[in-house]
């Protein structure tokens, strides 16, 4: 089981992006997805 700081920017967030195997490999798309996650976490 992994153990790292998922909120470390940018290295932790980059590791979280590796979990997103339902998304294309395109880094820009994964970055956009995580920006949306960040916004959602701020707002709810």
């Amino acid at each position: 089981m992994e153990g790292f700081n998922a909120l470390a920017w940018p290295e932790g967030v980059d590791k979280v992006e590796e979990w997103l195997d339902f998304l294309p490999d395109d880094k820009a798309i994964r970055d956009l997805f995580m920006t949306d996650v960040l916004q959602w976490l701020i707002q709810w």
Partner: protein, 398 residues
């Protein structure tokens, strides 16, 4: 079982009708009903609010009952307002106050952004937000090895997204439209001033900041906009021209934070986002629905600049007739009061709808009916009143 082909045809016809109300570019065959119904749905379905919040099957059933009982063009809130199953696993459950007796969910005035946080936010917004702000907001993540808990959150977040898709499909089976394009050039409240007001700095502290550190507030707004609103806008500019045929509108900004602003403050901190929305609407042929809490009358001279036949404005507290007269460049939505829906008779409610349709729709019937308040509490609405106005709107064709 619903005839899905027929319901899809109905849904697309309703979408086009909605757009025709806004643009005036085609015939309007009925008055659209934008259903401003929130937690009242769960009361009407016979559930406690807290039951629904933590059980998706109950949420689904409540929404299915609502769509069956009250045919309408748009059901605005389909569960997305209440992601408590997702956020509570990160430890911020105390931020919300759930009142089962009144079917309300409130959020405490939050201020996780400290006085010293303006500088790091402005300098490097993503670094500040990920590394400093989120651990303050979610105590479960406030540790070095938080990846296990973050993974649990991601699983719940994706589950929630799937659930919202499932509920949207259920609404489609009743011919109910998807409202705003989630990939449009602007989203609900993802820009600087709203984020500072609603969540990051909070109402009280931000009000003081406007007096004591206005330049930092502006810089913080710009930093947040550069992170969220501007990239989204740029994606919107790159998307195909024209209004998305799968949604009633392309953008649905929700205005909450304007309620404490003077016109001068509105111009400085808030209007730039609305101006960006107006510009992309005009340049990329998009449609916008502004959902506005409180009163906006002191900002109407700004709204007079909005491009013609692209905007709908719904205001909670302003007089709808006065607003339409002051703003002939937009169409208005709303007008059905919770007082009447909750305390009147079916005949009185239908009479009010007739008055709104006739006075505001005009010869080309360009008006959208909605409830002025976010219908939440048991006394906000009586079942027979809502059934009466839904039947009237369904049966009245132009």
């Amino acid at each position: 079982m619903a005839d899905m082909e027929a319901m899809d045809a109905l849904r697309h016809a309703r979408i086009q009708n909605f757009k025709n109300v806004i643009t005036g570019n085609g015939p309007v065959d009925h008055t659209p009903h934008f259903g401003n119904f929130w937690s009242w749905k769960y009361y009407d379905a016979g559930y406690k609010f807290s039951e629904v919040l933590f059980d998706y099957s109950k949420m689904e059933d409540a929404i299915e009952q609502f769509c069956t009982r009250y045919p309408m063009d748009v059901l605005y809130e389909t569960g997305w307002r209440n992601p408590t199953q997702v956020t509570s696993i990160l430890g911020n459950a105390n931020d919300y106050i759930i009142d089962d007796e009144n079917y309300s969910i409130s959020i405490r005035d939050q201020s996780y952004m400290d006085d010293d946080d303006y500088a790091p936010l402005i300098a490097d917004p993503k670094k500040y937000l990920w590394e400093t702000f989120l651990p303050k907001k979610f105590n479960v993540l406030d540790k070095e090895n938080n990846s296990v808990d973050f993974r649990k959150f991601m699983d719940k977040y994706l589950e929630f997204g799937g659930e919202m898709g499932k509920i949207a499909g259920m609404a489609h089976a009743h011919g109910c439209c998807d409202f705003a394009d989630p990939n449009g050039p602007a989203d609900y409240w993802g820009f600087g001033y709203e984020m500072l007001f609603c969540i990051m700095r909070g109402i009280k502290k931000l009000s003081v900041d406007l007096r004591k550190r206005p330049d930092e507030v502006q810089a913080a707004c710009e930093a947040l906009d550069a992170t969220f609103a501007i990239p989204r806008l740029e994606r919107g500019y790159a998307a195909p021209m024209g209004s998305n045929p799968e949604f009633c509108v392309d953008m649905n900004p929700v205005m909450l934070a304007h309620i404490t602003l003077s016109p001068a403050q509105f111009e400085r901190y808030y209007w730039p986002q609305i101006a960006r929305v107006a510009k992309v609407a005009e340049e990329r042929d998009k449609l916008v629905y502004l959902f506005m809490e409180g009163s906006t009358k002191r900002f109407w001279d700004f709204f007079q600049e909005l491009p013609k036949n692209r905007f709908v404005l719904q205001s909670e507290l302003d007089d709808i007739f006065e607003m339409q007269e002051a703003l002939p460049n937009v169409k208005v939505a709303g007008g059905m009061s919770a007082d009447l829906l909750g305390r009147g008779t079916p005949d009185e409610c239908v009479a009010r709808v007739k008055e709104l349709v006739e006075r505001l729709g005009g010869a080309d019937h360009r008006f959208i009916l909605s409830e002025d308040k976010m219908t939440s509490f048991p006394n906000d609405c009586k079942r027979e009143n809502l059934q009466a106005i839904c039947a009237y709107l369904t049966e009245t064709k132009f």
